[in-house]
Amino acid sequence: MRSNNAGCRFGVCQRKTDFMETVKLTINGQEVTAPKGELLIEACEMNGVYLPRFCHYRGLTPQASCRMCVVRVDNPKIPKLQTACTMPVTDGMAVTTDSQEIEDVRAAMIEFLLSNHPVDCPVCDRAGECELQDQTYGFGEDRTRSQYDDKDNYLERQISPFIYNDPQRCVTCKRCTRVCEEWMDENAITVLNRGASTVISAFSGWVECSDCGNCVDVCPTGTLLHVPYKYVARPWDLKQTPTVCNFCSDGCSVLAGTRGENLIRNVARDGRGRTAGGINHDFLCSLGRYTVDFVHSKDRLDRPMIRRGEHLIPTTWDDALQHVAQRLGELKAQHGGDSVGVISAARLLNEDQFTLRKFADDVLQTKHAEYYHDDDEIDLASFFRYGAPTIATQAHLQNADTILLIGSDPNEENPLTAFSIRWAVRQKAARLITVNAMPSRLERQANISLRVREGSEGAFVQALLDDAKLNDAAAALGVKAEDLQAVRKAVAESGRVVVVFGDELRGAAVEALALLESALAAPSAEAADAAKKAYIDALQRQVKSSNSTQKPSINENPYTYIVEHPTLEVGAEPVRTETKFSFLPLVRYSNTMGAGLVGMHSDDKGGMSAHAMINAAGGGIKALFIAGEDVVSKANGEASRVSTQLAKLDFLVVQDMFLTETAKLADVVFPVTSYAEAQGTQVNNGMQIQFVRRAIPPVGQARPDWMVVNQLAKLMGVDFGYQGQLKTIFKQIADAVPGCAGLSHNLLVNEGATQISLPQPEQSKINRADVLERLAGQVAKINRNVAVDAAALTAKAGTRLKQRYPQITQHSEMLTPELPQGVEAAAPAPLVFPA
């Protein structure tokens, strides 16, 4: 049923054998090797023997409940059949997986599972990518002895805005509840009842959760279904295109399911075990998964528009392009190149950003071109001032000894990062330290969590760097000095530390991060290992005080059980870094990093920032070219001021997917493609460059952003030499941008996420005293009379990510789903339990 060398789904197991100890074992008489400690079921799969399974799912705690994977262990001889999903391989082990006896058991288990199953495949959304179907074809009999007339029937029902539940189709593998607990730390769904009446359910009938939909993706049957995808398409009608999510800087891969010209769904993994093969394994969050409908919103712009007095009138591309080229040419001639500004949205792809920058440089000859970012976003210029400190990827996070989370709430803003943090804590006993003014669900898993005064996060960096200032920093943060001391000690003795930081870290504090490496030197490898071991021991000892209500004890939240089963790790190889510290800046948009990298900023040319350009409208700036950003809506309570500013312009060009508040003010509006229609590359917060594939043809007459700009350039007499090819743009990027040399689209399509390496900071160039002094100045300004008040901040939390994407808050119905008729949120259909 599966290809012989299915190997590890994440495509890393083959590599895994390079650095891991291996053992020899015999499967059906054939001698093979497998990584030491690997589960037998995985070892078999790596060696081309696929064992059927329902409950086993790589990376979830073993369950051994479906009994599909039974094998006979001949050496060492074990009298009973054993479940391969719970057996670690040992040297010299001999197993039989293909005897009559085993085939009989598999067929019997399938017969059992189908004995009360509705077998309503013709009306089941999962049919076609259902593991129960597949396993039945592969390992079951074509007849059953069960009688259709005495099955226990259940009503199907909706249990959350996104989840549909048909209990009778359940095989009780509990992948869903394990995913919800172990990946999401939500515990939103559970098993109800006992024995044959067992069903998966919410605790109160209606699931209250983060709507990630991962439980639905991992469900092997049609028991849990995506509401937006219900009865929409058949899996075999779908084309599945691996591409990259657009909604936060983590950059998850998604499988975009399309039918004809329509984007139907995004999944991390389909029922055939196929994944998009990205950095997120099988994980997706609510945004990446469910906000697909805006792509086909009726509000999408389908034609260029041009202003005639009060009105924007549809026009042809030729007309619109001609008009823009002419007007920009005139203004440039009249007021000089610097009278025109170019602003891009940070979510646009590298090829778009690069072309916009080229357009500014070579065509408009203006120094003002910058991707739009707010003043309260992470100050990347400070961060990269002395070179690039090691940037952490998700793999770094998952293999960290200590994770320092300063500011931000990854649960809300970077859901994949939050997943990786949970993963590291649970599976690898990483130590999590949070420093945050706002409450975060991650604190539950923190070893030390410091709730600090809003705006004081910089003082924490000071405390790490400067022992002498520790007491002062504690006062500024509003925490106890001994707690800070404990954090400092933990960080000092850890081997690999990942610092995850958000917007809250500002100015000198961001710059000072570069000093950490020399201030808190790495312990020797042995000392680091010893410290980690001591930490795990301490975790285990906590069991003794498990009645303490203060912290989740290991036992209630059994991390250490998992430490005792090291085979559970996802097959990512440990990331070894040259440096002790690596940093994950939680920048806001999917391509903030890329925009900066390809040069879409004014810094080095002495140009204005996006905000400054808007402020200078009517003064130095006569015309603006805005690509993909709704600067009016983003203006945080200053919308009318920004509108007034834009009105002062002589000429405003906007290219966007929707007629945004900004587009409404434009003289010409170009319709452009969404992430599903665009192709190119983007760089995530881990400095990993990824290839974004076009999943559907452009909607209406939309064109990719780069193409519009390229056409304009041509009309204005400059040929970028693209020859109409996207690849060529990237070639130019690779030549121009440090760290990208040698990369190409062809390579990225096959390689997946590729980390761009940049030169390390030159410690000698850093003026320590100066940085520390500026940091001290920053800390001194913190108002210590403000209370450390979580309650007031809680109100602000939780909505930030969605606010960043007007296209989904305004044009996706999925985020504010209307319940189907007859379904009421408070009272879902009751469950009927047969006696």
Binding site: P62, A64, S65, C66, R67, M68, V70, K80, L81, T86, V105, A108, M109, E111, F112, L113, S115, N116, R145, S146, Q147, D150, D152, V171, T172, V191, N193, R194, G195, A196, S197, T198, D537, Q540, R541, V543, K544, S546, I554, N555, P558, T560, Y561, E564
Partner: protein, 426 residues
Amino acid sequence: MTNVLTNRFHLKGAACDIQVYEQHGGYKALPKALKEFKPEQITEEVKKSVLRGRGGAGFPTGMKWSFVPKESKRPKYLVCNADESEPGTGKDRDLMRFDPHQLIEGMIIAGYALSSNTSYIYIRGEYWYIKEILEKAVAQAYAKGYLGKNILGSGFDHDLYVHPGAGAYICGEETALLESLEGKRGHPRLKPPFPAVVGLYGGPTVVNNVETLAVVPHIILNGGEWYKALGTEKSGGTKLFTVSGHVNRPGNYEVPMGYPLMSLINNECGGMLGGRKLKACIPGGSSVPILNAEDCEKMTLDYESAASVGTMLGSGGVIVMDETTDIFETTRNVTHFYKHESCGWCTPCREGTRWLYKVFERMHRYEGRPGDVELLYDLADKILGKSFCALGDAAAMPVQSAIKKFREDFERRIKHNIVQIQKAAD
């Protein structure tokens, strides 16, 4: 009758009071154990007694104790399994309500043997009134210094808690019991690791039946050899049996191991009710294979003899059935129990017991289809040995043995056969 465990039963519960218990030889073993024995020596003495677990599986107790690692980062625990839910079994009930201190004394000694400072009695929820008796007794033991810190000046600390279950048979299975004790859903755990290595709250844990632990003081007082000599060479000591069904005097009886089953029925229990003929007997609670009259004649009450007639001593619940009994109906009843009590974790037991019962139901209505008897047998076969825990086996074995030994009771339920039977009668 040999009175070891039941030698204070004639006091009709007065021994619940610690003074009465002490007057009748109680709390003599504990000081002896603490003074004269090192912890390992107690385990050795228990090994000598060849005491085997009385909870069902009959695992040698001394050996189980010796699996507990000496050094452990986490605390060690002793848990008394008082979940007694096996149909036909009520011996632990009487051991606890007539002589709670015997159990408590045994647990303190066992705790000492394991160097464990904490123990729990996990008691069946329906035994709420016994829980009160136990709690009173525990309080008395604390007051007298038999529990708590520095017991009898020995430097050994031990705390004992009584914890009620909430009514699930599966919580008698030792690992499900531990889950339940930790406050979780009562599902069995994956083994290995066994509780002796990773048990309650992740610490090394010994789970023993009430009866097993109640024997311990007697072994300490009189020696392992003495206890062993009470029974047979391989099955030492005495055992309690709960006899129910068609006998004149049902009840709990303590007999030496190796005692003939028929003597138990005819002497202790006063023979068959109404002088009717014996048809079948389940000797060890509903989970074990059923015996016909012929097997019963051969069987003596010890582990080896039970194995030789293809059954087990199990929990010691002897269910006696006379010639008026329809074995199909008793098996249907038993299957209903297992269907109801299956925890739902694993496929064969969850789906298998449901399906089995469905077939039983239609046969009960005399609507059995040709092939249904074979279907029952085969379904049981597909559960047996494939389930996650032993409950699946417990559901399968009675069905298979009943079909093997009393097939005519089943065949009568097949529609097709009924027609034949009626024709023959006409």
